[in-house]
Symmetry: C2
Subunit: 233 residues, 2 copies
């Protein structure tokens, strides 16, 4: 089975700060010196030091270094460096979220567009989605953690919310995890849309197979990509 995978980077001034760099910065922070950090990570001091300099050149004052003295000196990270590390971890966390989540995919046709947002005709109705530059036939993919379920009686007025895409359906499958429940909702035309909601939400709404629900998602949570084959023959 294919697994979604990724690598995270923060690019600044042409330098890409990756996982390895962040581990390096954390080791320096932890150890208080680049020598001990290098030893701790099992890598050479020379290249570690050179890499820190490269990052400093691009990203600004990331370290404060002292040499000589009773303890021989040392290197400390600046707050700016810690902020960088934290930003990296937030970004990686967001990517992990994408990689961990299943998505629902269905075909459609772009019928209108304004900038990046397009109206796509599908089997179950019109969907607003982010479509970068394709036109014609596309496949829409909706992150299942972006799908909001509402009981039909309480469905918000379409005019009064930024939740543009709303579709009625019935709950089919239900897989309970430790904290999160994976619900499959069948829309018109038989299209299946997966929604990820917390266990507590499912219990409060008392959802189960056969129940009618309204599934909603924002236009910015739906993305369209075009057909793939450019075959010449």
């Amino acid at each position: 089975m294919v697994r979604k995978d990724f690598e995270t980077y923060l690019s600044v001034e042409g330098v890409r700060i990756g996982e390895r760099d962040v581990e390096m910065l954390r080791a320096i922070d932890r150890c208080g010196s680049m020598h001990r950090a290098a030893e701790d990570l099992g890598r050479s001091y020379a290249h570690l030091q050179r890499r820190v300099d490269e990052i400093m050149d691009a990203a600004g004052p990331i370290t404060e270094r002292e040499r000589g003295g009773a303890d021989g000196g040392g290197t400390a990270l600046t707050d700016q460096a810690l902020e960088l590390v934290e930003q990296f971890r937030r970004l990686r966390g967001a990517f992990e979220g994408v990689a961990a989540v299943t998505e629902s995919v269905f075909p459609g046709t772009v019928v209108e567009r304004t900038g990046e947002v397009a109206t796509v005709e599908t089997e179950f109705g019109r969907v607003l989605a982010v479509v970068s530059d394709e036109r014609g036939d596309v496949r829409i993919s909706v992150r299942s953690d972006a799908v909001v379920l509402t009981l039909p009686a309480d469905a918000p007025d379409r005019e009064q919310t930024s939740l543009r895409n709303q579709f009625a359906g019935t709950v089919r499958d239900l897989q309970a995890g430790e904290a999160v429940v994976r619900l499959t909702v069948e829309l018109d035309g038989g299209t299946e849309l997966v929604a990820l909601i917390t266990r507590a939400s499912r219990e409060r709404m008392d959802l189960g197979p056969g129940d009618e629900v309204v599934a909603s998602f924002k236009a910015t949570a739906a993305r369209g990509v075009g057909a793939v084959s450019d075959r010449e023959n």
Copy 2:
């Protein structure tokens, strides 16, 4: 300024299929033979062929090849390969969405947790968020494309929807793009939450600075990461 960056992969049987591989597959599809694909991409046939074999070993029948004949033979992609390419593009699209979107970050403290979902105490109230394994002080980051805005009069009943996190606030800043508007909402305690909604949504709801709104987001759209420094001293 730092830019969010990433590389996308699909891993199958220990082989990581990346951007370069997908470009290779598309070139084969486009050109009809590996030789012409190699030339088209400006890379050597030998390694391209070897790489295709590696991917075939891992991912199954990706190509159908013929040699000899009037045209000398050629290589075609199977539907399975096209599906793989499309899956890659969908994944990359999802990552692009994450990288393009701004996020709102605010500090909080984990007060309770069930599996990956934690209740986090913040300046403006309790937030349900996905927190992998941290405890104590964390920073919550909310993707701004996951924030749903509703007019207070029409705010959905908390009990009847899977939108767990709801906070009242007032619109402060408003930056209009071509198709998408970036709204800053000030919550209790002065915390600022950024929401990305379509231009049409903003017009329909007639939102502007000073207006009261309810900002909502799902627990699965909020992620917490722990403090970064493990300093020993």
